[in-house]
C-alpha cells in the first residue's frame, strides 16, 4: 500500500521558487484524497531553516539534502540523491515543478525510478484511488489525460503558474529530517551562473505579458512596449519574426518553438497570430490584440481587439494605464 505522496521543491539562491509551493499545495490535495501524509524533498545548499516553509503549504515532513555541492542543479548529482529519498517509501505519486530544471530532473529521475512521467501537467485528479493527470500536447493545441499502469509510480511535473497555491499558514509545522548526502562521482558540473538582476519578469511566470511582432519594425521600437510593460508590471515577449530579425533575444520567443505561456493578460502587438504563435499563448486568460489589419487571425482569439496603428495606439494606451495606476 502506498504510504505517502511526495512533493519535490526547487531551491535556488537561498529561497524556494514559488512553483515549489504550488506543487506542495497540489500534492497536499492528492495526499488528502488518498489519506496519506505528504513528504517534501528539498535539495540545495543552505536549505536549513527554509525547509519549514514547505510545511506552511501542507507538507508534513521535509527531507533535506543540504550540501555545498548541491548549490546548483546538476542532474548527475540531484537524481541519485532524490531517488534515494523516494526509494525509502512507497509513494502513491511524486509531484515536481515543471520549471526549466524541474522538467530536466523529472525526466532523468523517471528513468532512474523506472517509471512513467507526465510532464508539464495542468491538472491532477484522484479517481477512485487512481491518480490521473492532464497535460497539453502540441503546445496546447490539444490536451491529454494520462494514467499509470497498475503498480507504476505516477510522476507528475506541474506547470508553473497554473495550480492553485494555498495561502501560507505559518503556524503549520513540518518535521524536518536532514538526510546524509552520499554524492556519486560526477562527470558534469556547473561552471557559472549569471542571474539577471534587472528585475525582469520571467515569461513563464508572468501575470501580464506584452509581446511584439514584426509590426514593431525595429529593435529600438520595443522601447514603447518596455514602457507599457513597466506600467503594467509585465514581461515583454516576442513572436518568432521579431526574434529572427534579431530585435529580441530568443528567450523572449513565445510559441510552439519558444515558450508556452499562460498569463492572466496577453497583449499581442503587431503580431498576426500564426498557428505556432497561438499555440504558445492560446491558454492566456485574456488576450488583447493590437493590429492595423482587421483581417489578422489574432483577432479570432482576442477578447479585445484594437484595429489601429500600434505606434499611435501603444503610447496612448500606456498613458491611460498610467492614469489608472495613479488613481488606485
Amino acid at each position: 500500500m502506498a504510504d505517502c505522496v511526495v512533493s519535490v521543491a526547487e531551491f535556488r539562491a537561498g529561497n524556494f521558487r514559488r512553483v515549489s509551493f504550488e506543487v506542495a499545495s497540489e500534492a497536499r490535495k492528492v495526499a488528502d484524497a488518498l489519506n496519506v501524509p505528504l513528504y517534501g524533498i528539498a535539495v540545495g545548499a543552505g536549505v536549513g531553516d527554509k525547509a519549514k516553509e514547505l510545511g506552511w503549504y501542507g507538507v508534513d515532513k521535509v527531507f533535506v539534502a543540504d550540501d555545498p555541492a548541491l548549490e546548483h542543479y546538476v542532474p548527475e548529482l540531484y537524481v541519485p540523491v532524490i531517488a534515494s529519498i523516494i526509494e525509502r517509501w512507497n509513494p502513491a505519486a511524486v509531484l515536481l515543478p515543471a520549471s526549466v530544471d524541474g522538467k530536466d530532473l523529472s525526466a532523468r529521475l523517471a528513468a532512474r525510478l523506472q517509471t512513467g512521467l507526465a510532464q508539464d501537467c495542468i491538472q491532477v485528479v484522484c479517481d477512485g484511488g487512481a491518480v490521473k493527470a492532464k497535460r497539453p500536447i502540441f503546445a496546447g493545441k490539444c490536451l491529454a489525460w494520462c494514467e499509470w499502469a497498475q503498480g507504476a509510480l505516477p510522476m507528475i511535473s506541474c506547470r508553473p503558474n497554473v495550480m492553485d497555491c494555498k495561502d501560507a499558514d505559518a503556524t503549520r509545522q513540518a518535521d524536518v529530517e536532514k538526510v546524509a548526502v552520499d554524492l556519486p562521482e560526477a562527470r558534469s558540473k556547473v561552471l557559472g551562473v549569471e542571474l539577471d538582476t534587472t528585475g525582469k519578469v520571467e515569461l513563464t511566470e508572468a501575470e501580464i505579458i506584452v509581446s511584439g511582432g514584426r509590426g514593431m519594425k525595429a529593435a529600438e521600437n520595443f522601447v514603447i512596449l518596455e514602457q507599457l510593460a513597466k506600467e503594467l508590471g509585465a514581461a515583454v515577449g516576442a513572436s518568432r519574426a521579431a526574434v529572427d530579425a534579431g530585435w529580441r533575444p530568443h528567450s523572449d520567443q513565445v510559441g510552439q518553438t519558444g515558450k508556452v505561456v499562460n498569463p492572466n493578460l496577453y497583449i499581442a502587438v503587431g503580431i498576426s497570430g500564426a498557428i505556432q504563435h497561438l499555440a504558445g499563448m492560446g491558454s492566456s486568460k485574456y488576450i488583447v490584440a493590437v493590429n492595423k489589419d482587421p483581417e489578422a487571425p489574432i483577432f479570432t482569439k482576442a477578447d479585445y481587439g484594437i484595429v489601429e496603428d500600434l505606434f499611435k495606439f501603444i503610447p496612448a494606451f500606456t498613458e491611460e494605464v498610467r492614469k489608472l495606476k495613479s488613481t488606485c
Binding site: R17, P75, E76, F138, C146, R187, K189, Q253, G282, A302
Partner: protein
Amino acid sequence: MNIVVLLKQTPDTESVIRIAPDGQSIVTQDLKWIINPYDEFAVEAALRLKEKHGGTVTIVSWGPQRVVESIRTALAMGADKGVLLDDDTLDGGDSLGVARALAAVVQALQPDIVLCGSRAVDYDLAQRGPMVAELLGWPHLGLAVSLDSDGSSVTIERPIEGGKVTMHASLPALVTMGGSHAVWNPRYASLPGIMKAKKKPLEMKKLGDYGLSAEECGAPAAKIRMVSLEMPPERKPGRIIDDGLDTEGKAAALVKALHEEAKVI
C-alpha cells in the same frame, strides 16, 4: 569525433490537430511531417562539431518508413549515415521504453557525444534525452543554447528562469538542445547535398538486432499512457473596441474593459 543525433519526425508546426474517433490519438492522415525543430538544431550543432573536430555524424531515429525522408534531409544537410529503427513492436511504448531502445542503438554506435532535442513539438514529452543519458550512465547537459567542445569535454550554456547557467561535462555525454531558430540557424540542404544524401548509408534495424523485445520497450513495458484526448476550451468570441472612437478614446475604453470587466489590471 563520433557524433550521434537522435531525430524524431513530428507533424509540421502548421498542422491543425484533430482527435481521432478512438479519442486517444490524433488524426494523422493529412499531416505533413518535418524534422522536430529542436532535432534540426541538433543536426546543425553536430555538423559544426564535425567541421571543427572531424569524424562522423550518425542520425538515429525510431519510427515508420516515412521517417526515411527526414533522415535523408539530415544527410543532405551533411550528416554521414542513418539508422532507422523501424519496428512496430515498439508501438505503444512509453518514453522510457523508447529511450531503452534508443540507448541500445547509441551503445552499439559508441559515440563520443549524443545530441538530441530538449523536446519534440508533438507530444511535448521532453523526456527522452535525459532518460537515454540515465540509461547509459552518462552525464547530460540540458537545453543548450550554445555548445562547444575541445574533443574530450563539452561546455554548454542553458537558460534558466531569470538567468543563464554554464555547464561542463567530460565525454561521452548527451546534450539536449534548446534555443530557437534564431540561435541555431540550421542550414538548408544544398542541391549537391541532396544528391549525395541518396548514396549515404541508411540502415534499417529491428529491436531484436539489439537483443531487445517489446516486453522491455513496447506496450507491455509502458508505465504510463494517454487514455483520452480533449480539445482545449474554445475561446469565447471577443469584441473589437471601436464605437467610432479616436485613438485616445479606444485606449481609455480598453483600460476600462481590462480594469472593470476582465479585472486583470
